[in-house]
């Protein structure tokens, strides 16, 4: 046996002569990467880090929260729900029938301004229970067709509102466009009408790139069913801002869309009269309609939640920071204290 080891060492030597270079090449080259010794920072959560992290969160969040709240409180918002009011009392038993009839749908409501509103005042309509995010609905549009006249017949996605019977493609096609909101509002205060600027409510990108300037409405609302507003066939799509706003589908079944801007200040206690044409049928699905006047601040519209959420998280962090401080004082654990190692603790404590 020993001679085996002896001779095996001979073998080793014998082959070693030829194998030396080969052997060296087999030796792994040292590099910090392959030896997993790359320099690294190994942060650990020391009490100081814990307390100061939570404190930092608190310090950052609470001011932001306050700022958001202030920003939100600056916003003045007036909301007027009108879908029932604007149906004559007699017709309220069958609203759907009324809205689909040819009866006069003019309706006047008045809004009281609670607080001075600085211009620009944004006018929104808000629909409830309207699933603009439904898959059937969302998919039913043709971006190509909206963009360029040459893609007019690109309507495959637009079913069921793609082609008008015998008259070719509908422009703009699809359910979204077809169901374009068509209530209109005109405002007046003290019998003096307020102009509503309907320009500049759509995204610039929509106007410039997504809706073509030589695409004109065609066969729109020409079918048996009329879903909503009609479009002026002489105005190219990139100037139909209502359509552009409408076609940005909302994420939730309750949504507001920009209707226009009132570019004068409204004073506190002022009463605004709105003459509205209540055309849009939300009655079949019990959808609410609201008219909203709102100013904005840097965080947009009225949104207390963001500020409250910031304050809450900030407060929680502050509490945690305090809590951990107390804990570290009351029951300190020296960092790196070996008595906490599992083998120094009683059995089963781990």
């Amino acid at each position: 046996m020993s001679s085996h080891t002896a001779s095996s060492s001979n073998v080793g030597n014998g082959s070693g002569d030829s194998g030396v270079p080969k052997r060296n090449s087999k030796r792994p080259k040292y590099s910090k990467f392959t030896q997993q010794e790359l320099p690294a920072c190994k942060p650990i959560l020391t009490p100081r880090w814990v307390v100061s992290t939570f404190m930092l969160i608190a310090i950052v969040f609470i001011p932001i929260g306050i700022a958001c709240l202030i920003g939100s409180r600056d916003v003045v918002e007036v909301v007027e729900r009108y879908e029932t009011e604007c149906i004559p009392v007699l017709n309220r038993t069958d609203k759907v029938q009324f809205i689909q009839s040819d009866a006069d749908k003019t309706c006047t409501i008045s809004m009281t301004i609670p607080k001075r509103m600085k211009q620009p005042i944004y006018v929104y309509y808000q629909l409830d229970n309207f699933y603009q995010n439904h898959r059937r609905y969302v998919k039913s549009r043709s971006d190509e067709q909206l963009k360029s006249a040459s893609k007019e017949n690109d309507t495959s996605a637009c079913k069921p509102e793609d082609i008008a019977n015998g008259r070719g493609a509908i422009v703009p096609c699809g359910l979204i466009a077809w169901s374009l909101f068509n209530d209109t509002y005109s405002f007046s205060r003290q019998n003096q009408s307020l102009t509503v600027n309907k320009k500049g409510i759509a995204w610039k990108s929509d106007k410039q790139k997504r809706f073509g300037k030589n695409v004109f409405p065609k066969n729109f609302q020409g079918g048996g069913l009329v879903g909503g507003a009609t479009l002026n066939e002489s105005i190219p799509l990139n100037e139909q801002e209502d359509l552009m706003v409408w076609m940005r589908t909302a994420a939730l079944p309750t949504f507001r869309k920009l209707y226009g801007k009132i570019e004068v200040d409204l004073e506190e206690k002022e009463v605004i009269n709105v003459t509205l044409m209540n055309y849009y049928n939300t009655y079949s699905f019990n959808g609410k309609k609201k008219l909203v006047l709102s100013t904005t601040s840097w965080i947009g519209g009225r949104n207390d939640f963001l500020g409250i959420a910031y304050l809450t998280v900030g407060m929680i962090s502050f509490a945690l920071s305090m809590g951990f401080t107390i804990v570290y004082f009351v029951k300190p654990r020296r960092l790196g204290d070996p008595t906490f190692l599992s083998w120094n603790r009683g059995p089963g404590s781990h």
Partner: protein, 1224 residues
């Protein structure tokens, strides 16, 4: 068993003086009548042309271990890929995405799948290519083959055919199974090393038939022909049945003429052989079983989680499709803006059931993001990197063999971190299998001053402890301190000192193989001045003569090396040579010794006639030779296990018994292998009377010949006179099992050795130690083969098992350690179905288990028993083909790649070149890989739940219509790019503690064994975190972007804006979460984590710049709408913090009140406390070692206790003369 007998006979034929009297049992039987199925092979020797067509066309010598070939790769690899449920799900989803029900564009479904599957397949292909290259290396090895007319030429192995005559030279492997024709030795002997086949390292003798002896040079094969009729290919390595028809005579063949592929020719300059079995027909290939594909426990558990997620997916899909159907039925008809009555095949209010079912498919695809599609591929990428790190680890590179560690399969990396039980082979695995003659006791005097490793370690530890006491306890007597200062010489404690000083000596390696003895009283002829000169002379002669080795002159050094049966024997011969008794020649009947010092100044060559040789068998535990010296004096020289020898001493031979026993105990304590030597003088008539009996016994044909022989031998081996005892150290492989034991691993040794050897090894590698309670389970006399006795044996074993279990159970002393020793024969019973649980229960209760005399099959069975019985991860490690079964059966198989072309390595999952690397492989790489993979998987589920559920919540607001709020591209990128790189970098680079700390605190390994990082608690915690995050992300976003304007310009948020904001939140949340999960940031992690967030914003920006034709709603979204809006950024900040807050609290809290071990160590390292307070660091390191009952440390502790006790005693008496440590 058959193999053993064959070997014995072979050996006798070579060495035995009575070889002429060998019963020719085989010849009298005549050739086997070879008929019937199983014996159809016909080989036309030297006529390979005859084997080129059927039916004599046999398979070629080409071997292939690849999984695929060019044709089968695609279908097979695809099948492998879609075998996984998750991938299959995605395949179906991708197929369905081509239909109308899809919520996404088909591309966004197909692209990630193609990417993921393509990557996995590329990896498969690469791995298979490597296997192919390896095969090609073997196939293209050259062998010298007879071409024509006595000319030999080189041919690659793969071209070798059945019937070829092959010439194999020294130290070459046999290219196929050969029939040995002739060798460079006149008598047709050759030596073969079969290590690759059965793991045995000793040489085996093969012997050609006498008739083929004349074929001794190339020329003689010019006209050589012959026909071999033999058995069909089969996997049995130790049997062979066949006939050789040569010159119109038929000769029977047996395994001693067969040279097996992958064994190696040794000590013989060349042999000629005829190829019988080639390629897959060869025995070694027949033996190789397909390695089962193994999967780690974590991965199996991960599958379970995927099933859970799939059920969750089905659940929410059903909810959503029921909701859809309800909405369609009751509300859809009212939604005039959707023209519900026209062209509504998927949204048919008239048939909500059908629409609901169609929607179920949509929903199943939509919520598919719950299942992380990139999980498998990410894990695979990570594992490839991890495997590379293992392969490249410079600390696992063996300078001697030039081998690195190899992760041969990468799917078990994390399993390395969870090993509970190691099943180890012995030879070459635990020990170096290199014996050093270290000490001896001759005529009651102990010689040899070198210390064993254990003594050294004990001394060192004591010195350290005392130093510590010094600092703590001033009352320690002065001299004790001085005694332990290494430089002090005047201390009264000679023992300790000798131990300590010899430490320095030990640094010089023994110059001579097998000899590590140091004692001036014996060396260089000084023994002549010793009082017991006679005994010494005898002792040396016994060493030199009582053996069966073959001397071999090493031409370079002019020294003799020895080809011996056992390494002990070689060590004895080396020792004898160093003492001046050089064994230099052996003939059939004599041993020649050169004596150097007996007559000063002169070399005397002496011949000892060997009259008889009484072999060593495991039963006899001794061997004797009867020799006649030149004066005609007949001597019986005997060496054997001390207990056996002591039983056979004559009355006047026991003079030194007491002292020798004492020495033997000491040797045993420090792990040395001991043998006792004895002799007796015989007179002529006494001998010849006995010899007659002996010859009769040897030549008898009766069944009980063995018994007769034994009885006769017994008659001779009695009334011996004790000469002394030897102590040989079997050097352990460095760092052996100690650290592994400290890491809390249980170690079983499965060895083919005899029980005594196994126990000896157990002692020397510290699996066993004095004071351990040893339970030996053996079967009582199993010689009689009868049915009822089998039953009796079984009952007997069962009784032993239950008794022992009872004993273990009732043990009160917590420090009591049990060792179980069981032999192979008993194991056959113990492994039967009705017994194995008793056996396992007992074995689990024992600190160490040694199974000896086990067959490869039993090794595998034991492994399976442990694996299935304990449900814990098992690791099998071995180096020979006999370990293949075990390696394949275990959860992880590790092969030791010392020698090239190893079977064990081929079957293994990992190969290392020395056992000691196992520590690093497990404790460092295993630990890391386990944590990495565990964290990675948890995180994967977290992020996909956090993301996937937001899709579901949104559904509730879209009337369950199957609309997603996110752009298809976001979703496509989510798994593939935006969140995968950080988690991959976690899987590749994360280190909780550095490798040094892992090694210093092996107890950290327990985190893996206890599965602290992938238990259900943690998994569900992560899932809960995902659920929480998804809720926070969704609710906050929806409320913030409810209906009011989101910027000063008055615009309200559309779906694209809300979707993009929500997705930005998700990306930030999951990446910050990732950053919190990591504890180790190199620039790579920084790059990936922060880079992923940056990539998202960059993507959103660039995507928005693309023409609206491609970008749709996203056109200029960031640049125009979201970017300038403060609410967008403040939402991201709010959501991110709100989402990670609970986790942050959790980890702060955990670290504060319930820190885990690695937390503390991180802190110690962070504050550099280990440098400042080295004392504490050292103390913790020693404490961190598990309470081990086995292993070196336990041994050292025992030794320390003993020495300390002695110190106490000595300090009171202050007297000491003894040079050797004596047991107190």
């Amino acid at each position: 068993m058959a193999r053993g007998r064959i070997r014995e006979r072979l050996r006798r034929s070579h060495l035995h003086p009575f070889s002429c009297l060998r019963p020719n049992a085989n010849n009298s039987e005549g050739p086997n009548p070879l008929q019937g199925p199983g014996f159809s092979r016909i080989v036309h020797c030297n006529q390979p042309l005859k084997h080129q067509k059927k039916p004599l066309k046999y398979c070629s010598n080409y071997i292939s271990t690849t999984k695929y070939n060019i044709v089968t790769f695609l279908p097979k690899a695809l099948y492998e890929q879609f075998h996984r449920l998750a991938n299959l799900y995605f395949l179906v989803a991708a197929a369905l995405s081509l239909t109308a029900v899809t919520p996404f564009t088909p591309l966004s479904m197909i692209l990630p799948l193609a990417f993921v599957v393509g990557l996995s397949m590329a990896k498969e292909a690469l791995e298979d290519w490597r296997r192919f290259a390896q095969d090609m290396k073997v196939n293209s090895r050259k062998a010298s083959v007879h071409k024509e007319g006595g000319v030999f030429g080189y041919k690659p192995w793969q071209k070798i055919q059945v019937g070829d005559v092959v010439k194999v030279e020294k130290d070459q492997f046999f290219p196929a199974d050969l029939l040995l024709l002739s060798t460079s030795y006149d008598d047709g002997i050759c030596y073969v090393e079969t290590m690759n086949l059965d793991g045995e390292t000793n040489l085996k003798v093969k012997r050609s038939l006498d008739v083929t002896l004349p074929l001794e040079d190339d020329e003689s094969f010019k006209n050589f022909t012959g026909i071999i009729k033999c058995e069909d290919p089969n996997p049995s390595l130790y049997t062979f049945v066949g006939n050789f028809e040569y010159e119109r005579q038929v000769y029977p063949l047996d395994p001693s003429q067969i040279l097996l592929r992958d064994s190696k020719l040794r000590n013989t300059s060349y042999v000629y052989g005829v190829v019988i079995f080639t390629g897959f027909d060869s025995k070694v290939m027949q033996n190789s079983t397909k390695s089962p594909s193994k999967r780690s426990k974590i991965e199996k558990k991960m599958d379970k989680i995927i099933y859970i997620l799939l059920s969750l997916l089905v659940l929410i899909s059903s909810i959503s499709s029921i909701g859809f159907a309800v909405k369609i039925k009751y509300q859809m008809p009212k939604w005039e803006y959707m023209q519900p009555l026209i062209d509504n095949n998927l949204y048919d209010p008239g048939n909500p059931g059908k629409s609901g079912i169609a929607h179920l498919i949509t929903a199943l695809i939509l919520y598919g993001y719950l299942i992380p599609i990139s999980l498998y591929v990410s894990i695979e990428i990570v594992k490839v990197f991890q495997a590379r790190f293992i392969n490249q680890d410079i600390h696992m590179y063996d300078e001697e063999t030039g081998n690195t560690a190899q992760a041969r399969t990468s799917n078990l990396n994390e399993e390395l971190g969870q090993v509970e039980t190691i099943l180890s082979d012995k030879t070459g695995t635990l020990t170096c299998n290199q014996m050093d003659f270290l000490k001896c006791s001759i005529a009651g005097t102990a010689y040899g001053v070198r210390s064993t490793e254990i003594e050294l370690a004990a001394a060192k530890q004591i010195a350290m402890d005392l130093e510590e006491q010094d600092t703590q306890n001033i009352n320690v007597p002065r001299y004790m301190k001085s005694a332990n200062k290494e430089d002090s010489r005047g201390g009264p404690e000679i023992e300790l000192e000798s131990v300590i000083t010899s430490k320095c000596e030990n640094d010089q390696k023994p110059a001579i193989k097998g000899f590590n003895f140091e004692d001036s009283r014996l060396m260089h002829g000084h023994w002549l001045n010793e009082p017991n000169q006679e005994a010494l002379l005898l002792f040396f002669r016994i060493l030199a003569i009582c053996q069966t080795a073959v001397p071999e002159l090493n031409e370079e050094s002019g020294m003799f090396t020895y080809e011996a049966e056992s390494p002990d024997e070689a060590a004895f011969l080396a020792a004898a040579r160093e003492f001046g008794f050089e064994f230099y020649k052996r003939t059939q009947s004599s041993v020649f010794i050169r004596e150097k010092y007996a007559h000063p100044g002169r070399l005397i060559e002496r011949e000892f006639k060997i009259l008889n040789l009484l072999e060593f068998t495991s039963k006899r535990k001794r061997m004797s030779v009867i020799v006649q010296d030149e004066d005609g004096q007949i001597l019986l020289l005997c060496k054997g296990a001390d207990s056996i020898i002591f039983d056979r001493l004559s009355k006047n031979g026991r003079i030194h018994e007491e002292t020798t026993t004492k020495h033997l105990t000491e040797y045993g304590e420090v792990g040395l292998r001991t043998l006792a030597l004895a002799y007796k003088k015989l007179d002529e008539p006494e001998y010849s009377a006995w010899n007659n009996e002996f010859v009769k016994a040897k030549t008898s044909f009766s069944i009980d010949r063995e018994a007769m022989f034994e009885r006769v031998a017994d008659m001779m081996e009695k009334d011996l006179i004790l000469v002394g005892a030897t102590a040989v150290e079997d050097k352990l492989q460095k760092g052996c099992i100690d650290k592994l034991a400290q890491a809390g691993l249980k170690i079983w040794v499965l060895t083919g050795d005899k029980m005594e050897t196994a126990i000896n090894i157990g002692y020397s590698c510290s699996l066993l130690r004095q004071g351990m309670k040893r339970i030996c389970i053996t079967v009582m006399n199993s010689d009689v083969v009868a049915q009822d006795s089998k039953q009796a044996a079984k009952e007997n074993i069962l009784m032993q098992l239950t008794n022992s279990s009872q004993m273990v159970k009732l043990e009160k002393d917590p420090h009591a350690a049990y060792a179980l020793v069981i032999d192979g024969k008993t194991l056959t019973y113990a492994l039967e179905d009705d017994m194995k649980h008793h056996f396992l229960a007992l074995a689990v209760g024992c600190a160490s288990v040694i199974c000896c005399r086990v067959s490869p099959k039993q090794k595998a069975l034991v492994t399976r028993l442990v694996k299935e019985g304990t449900k814990k991860t098992t690791l099998a490690i071995g180096d020979g083909a006999n370990d293949v079964g075990m390696i394949q059966e275990a959860d992880i198989g590790v092969g030791i790649s010392g020698v090239e072309g190893m079977q064990a390595v081929m079957a293994s999952d990992f190969s290392i070149s020395q056992f000691r690397f196992l520590e690093r492989l497990l404790v460092v790489h295993g630990h890391w890989c386990y944590k990495r993979i565990a964290q990675m998987i948890c995180y994967f589920f977290y992020k996909n739940i956090a993301f996937g559920l937001t899709l579901f919540y949104f559904e509730a607001f879209t009337a369950f219509s199957g609309q997603s709020i996110y752009n298809d591209w976001y979703m496509l990128l989510f798994n593939v790019i935006l969140t995968s790189l950080p988690v991959i970098s976690l899987g590749v680079f994360e280190q909780d503690v550095s490798s040094e700390v892992c090694l210093q605190f092996p107890a950290l390994y327990q985190q893996g064994t206890k599965n602290l990082f992938f238990d259900w608690y943690r998994i569900l915690g992560w899932m809960g975190n995902g659920l929480y995050s998804s809720l926070v992300i969704f609710i906050l976003n929806i409320v913030i972007f409810y209906n009011q304007a989101f910027r000063a310009g008055g615009q309200t948020a559309d779906m694209a804006a809300v979707g993009a904001t929500m997705f930005s939140c998700i990306i930030c949340v999951v990446n910050f979460q990732m950053a919190l999960t990591m504890s180790h940031f190199t620039w790579i992690q920084h790059l990936f984590v922060w880079g992923s967030i940056a990539t998202w914003f960059l993507f959103l920006f660039l995507y928005g710049l693309m023409p609206p034709y491609y970008s749709g709603d996203v056109y200029k979204l960031l640049a125009e709408a979201l970017g300038p809006a403060p609410i967008y950024w403040s939402t991201i900040l709010l959501v991110t913090v709100a989402c990670i807050l609970p986790y942050l609290v959790h980890i702060s809290f955990q670290r504060c009140f319930n820190p885990m071990d690695h937390h503390i160590i991180q802190e110690i390292k962070y504050y550099r406390k280990d440098v400042e307070d080295q004392h504490m660091w050292r103390r913790e390191r020693s404490k961190a070692r598990q309470e081990t009952k086995i292993g070196f440390t336990a041994r050292v502790d025992a030794k320390i206790r003993q020495l300390k006790g002695k110190l106490q005693k000595k300090s009171s008496t202050s007297v000491s003369q003894n040079c050797m440590p004596s047991p107190s």
